[in-house]
């Protein structure tokens, strides 16, 4: 294609090729702002190894933000190219975690049922590592729904 020799045509080409000065610093500033944003999140009660919420004789409890649990599950579910999390929802009743709903995108060709059966114990282990053995929370309370299938790694496609 012939180059437009007009001043405006040359200016357009120059503008398209322009790398705005100061972008690197601005990108860093943007990410600092974003990392500082704390999205409100529900507190979830933790349990001792004995399965009780009380941490002392006065019945003090320790809580962990739902955001912490969700982030840990996200990292777990991003580890392999066979699947990626679409949503992670924690069911919380009276500050107690009662169940987990996960929507996954899977790579085409992956055996869906075995994958879910593999993931449930890993999910439970992560959650119990953070919250302790929450009563009522077991493999049956972890719902996994596949919502999409991709040709490649769903973490990248």
């Amino acid at each position: 294609m012939a180059l437009d020799p007009s001043p405006l045509g040359r200016a357009i080409r120059a503008a398209r090729a322009e790398q705005p000065p100061g972008w690197v610093d601005l990108a860093g500033s943007i990410m600092s702002r974003v990392r500082a944003i704390v999205i409100p999140s529900e507190p979830i009660l933790t349990f001792t190894e004995q399965g009780t919420p009380a941490r002392d004789e006065q019945g003090s409890g320790t809580y962990v933000s739902a955001r912490v649990v969700t982030a840990a599950l996200r990292r777990l579910l991003q580890e392999h190219p066979t699947h990626a999390p679409e949503t992670i929802d924690l069911r919380v009743d009276d500050s107690r975690l009662t169940g987990i709903d996960i929507r996954l995108v899977a790579r085409y060709g992956v055996e869906l049922h075995p994958l879910a059966d593999t993931l449930r114990p890993q999910i439970l282990e992560i959650v119990e590592g953070i919250l302790g053995p929450a009563p009522g929370l077991d493999l049956s309370t972890i719902e996994i729904v596949y919502v999409d299938v991709t040709r490649g790694d769903p973490n990248r496609t």
Binding site: S6, P7, L8, R10, A11, I12, R13, A14, A15, R16, A17, E18, Q19, P20, P21, G22, W23, L26, A27, S29, I30, M31, R33, V34, R35, I37, I39, R67, T70, A71, R74, R75, Q78, E79, A84, P85, E86, T87, I88, V105, G152, P154, N155, R156, T157
Partner: protein, 189 residues
């Protein structure tokens, strides 16, 4: 994405990055910023003509994007959605500012000497300065449509979505903007 990515690995799609960022993945959002931020900042720079305002508009647009990613339904491309956000922020900033018209004499003073090599001026920063001066004189919508079409190379439909205006209005603003800019930049010979 939190895991390390090999350099030979293909770039993640916008869809995958949005999916991860919605779940709070800062690394995925950083990839979105790196991918689309330079064009957003460039657009804001030419639109408002001030580096400070452009930086603020771009930053606020990304903060807004981070907060509202769950509301991004994917009806438009991620790029169009982000351009729409930065355009709105830039418009907010401009609303309280008074326009400062540029006098024609300033354009004449920027005309290069006759001995200059015109081929070299393609990359000359003064050419971009002249363009900016001409852009500053365009009405807001003409400037926005011209920048999105000619510099960011967006389709009429994408511009229509980004600026929330009918395609017919996009065509009209673009026609008038092109005509005015061609006249003003014709002095740059």
């Amino acid at each position: 994405m939190s895991k390390s990515q090999a350099s030979s690995e293909p770039l993640a799609t916008d869809e995958a990055l949005v999916r991860a960022a919605r779940l709070g993945d800062h690394e995925a959002f950083r990839e979105i910023v790196d991918r689309h931020g330079p064009a957003m900042y460039r657009y804001a720079l030419h639109l408002v003509g001030d580096a400070g305002d452009a930086a603020e508009a771009t930053q606020e647009a990304f903060v807004s994007a981070w907060r509202s990613l769950s509301g991004f339904a994917g009806r438009s491309s991620l790029r169009t959605w982000l351009i729409r956000l930065v355009h709105r922020r830039a418009a907010d900033l401009q609303r309280n500012r008074r326009a400062t018209p540029i006098d024609d004499g300033l354009m004449s003073r920027l005309t290069p000497a006759a001995t200059d090599n015109p081929l070299q001026s393609v990359l000359d920063a003064e050419l971009l300065d002249a363009l900016q001066l001409a852009l500053n004189e365009l009405p807001w919508h003409q400037r926005a449509t011209w920048l999105l079409r000619e510099v960011e190379e967006m389709s009429y439909e994408e511009i229509s979505i980004a600026l929330a205006m009918p395609i017919g209005a996009v065509r009209g603003h673009l026609y008038r903007g092109r005509r005015t800019l061609a006249e003003r930049m014709a002095r740059w010979r």
